[in-house]
Symmetry: D2
């Protein structure tokens, strides 16, 4: 269901997404960065450190959610016209395995790109010692906000 | 549905929850603290600062989710026996209004406390200029992990 | 968060909702009916019968979801203008206890009524022998579709 | 994330799932049947008829959810030991396009099979005039209930 090829409506989609990401204080605070970006898809990575943990030393579920939310949001934004912004309406995330150490990787993909709403699926895994272990699965709804001048 | 009175099974529930919270590197990094704690309920607050923002200067949805997740998780933990830990199975959050400035407040309440699974509802609001504006609503499933020695 | 008083924008909201409900073949097939209706709120009831069961003789989770979805949808529709329709964008439901026999009751309440999106909370309980047992909790997003002539 | 090969623990998984499905009064009432079944996967189909509709003549979101819930639940049950039953803990569904006429098809796949909890992803599409149109996406959590004798 997620294998479609998408055509961006704004040829400056790449610059626009990266510049928006750079404005997210929260991603900077966490230490997250964009690893891959293509129309309808965005991957965000975050190296483990203790400041990102919950009480057992795993990545905090909320931190995992934060980069997953941004990965989905920017996957959606790649397909928006130049004057449009993205907001998260809602998401649901299953934490399928505790994520510890290594590199957290959230890959967001647009599943449905509508005029008002965009639906994304985000898969989060943790890379450690050459293996990639699935650790969370998110389903997300985004809304497009058009700026009229 | 959320108005029940709960009796904790471990009389040291308060100490146990606060000590677990203190171990969450993520809550420290964000600047969050426990504002209220009672059996089946936990409120976490987080003052706004730019480092917690998304690209429009609002609280990042993932940050909002992080404190909501902890509020629900610790609401659940108050009712667990002494040797049990809590993990988030999944949650779903609706961002119902952008939250900006002020004090973010996530109030988690246990809705159903089962032997294995606990269901929580978390309401997030932002306090600014004396008003409290609802900004997110979470429904969350927790699992109890018993430690056998 | 759900205690607000709402003012309908269309004075024929009651007739409009009941007439829409009457057109839902699915509610007729199940045997569901509207028990209560007020601005921002709708309660749907469904008496148990074997045809609504899953393999252990409980109400099927999907049937529980169906009346919860309608209860939320019509809670939302009470607040829409005359020329607008409602569609479910998404919902999330926790089945907190098996529901058996008796009368299934889904009470939907609007939590946030926006121009495009409406967020509802739905509580499902089962009434049996004079007691009301909570059995499911839904969080739902609706979209308003305006008809232009 | 969903492409793993699973080995059933009970060699009578096929019979056990079909016999459980046959006991679901709700699936019979709707007219649903199992189209495909393999370890970790179950597809349920449902031909359109007016009795399954919402007010605009589309498949009711709750009906779509009902077969998606069963598809996920039975995908999970294929991997359970002989004495175990499955219950839905919760699910979240996005209705990504209205489904009308044709054949509704819900394909459930196990994403993570744990000792207590199983996570499934369910894709729902509608087949009409030879085309298959995605119409809903579900993420679901199941719990395994062991019967001890």
């Amino acid at each position: 269901m997620m294998e479609r090829a998408y055509s961006p409506r704004d040829h400056e989609w790449d610059t626009r997404v990266r510049s928006s990401f750079a404005q997210q204080g929260a991603m900077r605070l966490l230490g997250a960065s964009i690893a891959e970006l293509s129309p309808g898809s965005c991957t965000i990575v975050l190296p483990f450190r203790e400041e990102l943990s919950q009480q057992h030393g795993y990545f905090h579920a909320g931190i995992t959610s934060a980069i997953a939310d941004s990965a989905g949001g920017y996957a959606g934004l790649t397909l928006f016209p130049a004057n449009a912004e993205v907001l998260t309406v809602e998401f649901k995330i299953n934490l399928i395995a505790p994520a510890q150490d290594g590199l957290l990787r959230a890959e967001g993909n647009v599943v449905r790109s509508g005029r008002t709403l965009t639906i994304c699926a985000v898969e989060v895994s943790v890379e450690r010692d050459g293996a990639r272990i699935p650790c969370a699965l998110m389903q997300q709804t985004l809304i497009r906000i058009d700026h009229h001048r």
